[in-house]
Point group: C2
């Protein structure tokens, strides 16, 4: 464990088929006006909306409806939500949905009373709130992003041509999160599998960094192994509770700051994925899947020791009689095989990246000076072309 | 992940060689009277005491000295500390030391304003505080117990002949913990290695339970692998910062409630260890080491699948061509080899368990109805005799 760091994560996680029973107790901690933020009609079809509204009414809360949070939430939608918060003196933003809805809720929380332009302040300049923020609680219905236990908030600004992430501090972490694996079981296969890859990508973004022996890597490997095992089951049988429950728990712990302790982190795959998502509106997890292998093959030699370790510890590749390069490559072959097995999109061309919009995608990629290799823009082009 | 559970751990962890720099900021969160609880003179010899006192003085705090916290803190010492808290209107109990000192601090926190008998209320009846409690902060100087990020408090009552654990709720968790691996590097080899085994025991107590596939097991295996790797290095070279840092981090995460999520837990090795400690005053980690192999060999068949998994995933035992029992036994052989390699005590006879005091030890063992097999008192005798 190198360097200095602080770990602090106060989010209360309520897990299990009876997790919703904790909502009543949690609501007592907040004032009477609750903004109910959600996406579309799915939660109205699967009973979750009704259950949440019933709990809110029973707790005597005034509900401010805030529907229509889109999969890649826009800054315009955030500003609308911020206005609703101010006008209604909202005490708690209750996000019911997946990462988009929860990211959105945190964005609204930080923006409602922000005296300057929120997009500039938070997503461009990466500043932190100096204004009053509004507590956020969540009921998770789709797993993958880990947003339920962190400060992450990815927002899209189409006018400026960027989909950007901001990581807020502990104050903006959801105060509580209801994690009922059953709530995730009505998600369509495509989104479910995309979520599985999002989790794996989070784990890999934090794993493929650094050179020291680090306890964090061992924890990360455990989560990767659990995810691989459970996702193989769940992709074939989405109704397997045990598998879905394990994946839900893995997703939360994959991105709640624990795995960055003592580590650097890469995150370039996510930057490329965001750019694809901005231009094509494709599902986040699939954008990551479509570029991961070209990216990792490209940077492998710069972090060979870690790719070798990945192959051995995560995929069980036997190293005897092989060069380090061979072991590392076998690991990526295993990764590819798992990706095909669970059914993610393997090519960005399938998501809508074309020769015509390629340059737009390339221009939208934020190149970060982290990981084993800082890409040039030419390398970004090369990786994207290979991914198509 | 089976069942329903809540995870909540708000302790702030400050890690690294500069971790003490955070003490000033933390102290701002509390009132002016700080009780400084510690054991003996070691922290006065290694500079930690001076550094803490300097920070307290700079922060303008009034210091209430509370030295003499013994390795197996007694209820009498706790009541003295409670009196000091009341008389001085202590705002923060700052525990500087290892698990004993931190367990003690939590005990004092819960006892200072307890209207009934604290031993009966908390350690016998396992009740929770209804009175005012005092915040606890810690500067960790010896790793193993995980007390720095949980509600555990093990207290000895010699008159009644018990060393008992109480697990307090989140309110009693340390509010903050300073984790500087360098602070642990002056600990004598014996205590250092005992601490390593305490960590492994915590991991095994939570691992050897249940039958379901569980993400928690994968995380646990990662921590076990990290500990085994780092302890091999540290036992030979205690000055290896990377190894000591990894072990420190592993110790905290081994017992902060994460690894009991979705799992049951055994804890009988700890009960037998406590009984040995009560009678012999031996170092906690060594009492556990002295009985672990006899215990696990005894219960192995009741949880064979998990011992087989332990052998394969933690020790790399190859299963091909072997029965499950053989694989499981090989895992215990690996465990034994590691224990000898790092230098723990392998027999309770070396700790002072004799034919004369054996019955006293047996009588002091709390038999818990958990794990793969609930022991009879005869089985406890058998295990202890085998351990001698």
């Amino acid at each position: 464990m190198q360097g200095n760091f602080t770990y602090h994560n106060p989010t209360r996680l309520h897990f299990g088929e009876d997790a919703m029973n904790h909502l009543a107790g949690e609501l007592k901690n907040f004032g009477s006006v609750v903004m109910l933020s959600y996406g579309g009609g799915s939660i109205k079809r699967n009973g979750i909306y009704d259950a949440v509204v019933a709990a809110l009414k029973k707790a005597g809360k005034t509900i401010v409806e805030d529907a229509g949070v889109m999969p890649n939430p826009t800054i315009e939608k955030v500003l609308e939500g911020a206005r609703l918060v101010r006008e209604n003196h909202v005490d708690l933003i209750l996000a019911v949905g997946g990462g988009s809805t929860i990211d959105y809720a945190k964005a609204v929380s930080a923006s409602a009373y922000c005296e300057n332009d929120p997009w500039e302040t938070y997503w461009v300049n990466q500043g932190n709130p100096t204004c009053k923020t509004v507590p956020v609680g969540t009921v998770l219905t789709m797993v993958g992003t880990g947003s339920e236990m962190n400060g992450g908030s990815v927002i899209t600004n189409r006018k400026e041509g960027f989909k950007r992430g901001k990581v807020f501090g502990t104050e903006l972490f959801p105060k509580f999160t209801i994690l009922n694996p059953r709530f995730t079981m009505t998600v369509p296969q495509y989104q479910m599998v995309a979520g599985f890859f999002d989790i794996m990508s989070h784990l890999m973004e934090q794993y493929f960094a650094g050179t020291a022996d680090c306890t964090t890597d061992y924890i990360n490997e455990g989560l990767m192994r659990s995810l691989i095992h459970a996702s193989r089951i769940a992709a074939k049988n989405p109704q397997d509770y045990e598998a879905r429950a394990n994946i839900m728990w893995t997703a939360t712990w994959a991105l709640n700051t624990l795995l960055k302790c003592g580590k650097g982190g890469d995150w370039e795959v996510h930057q490329i994925g965001h750019a694809i998502g901005l231009v094509t509106d494709a599902t986040h997890g699939m954008t990551l899947a479509s570029v991961s292998l070209p990216y990792y093959r490209h940077v492998m030699h710069d972090g060979l020791h870690q790719f070798k370790r990945f192959a051995e510890n995560v995929w069980g590749v036997r190293p005897e009689g092989k060069t380090d390069e061979q072991v590392a490559l076998e690991g990526l072959v295993c990764l590819e095989a798992w990706m095909k097995e669970i059914g993610v999109v393997m090519h960005s061309g399938e998501l809508g990246v074309t020769e015509e919009n390629l340059q737009q995608v390339v221009d939208a990629v934020l190149i970060l000076p982290v990981g084993y290799r800082t890409l040039t823009r030419d390398e970004v082009v090369k990786i994207l072309i290979e991914s198509m």
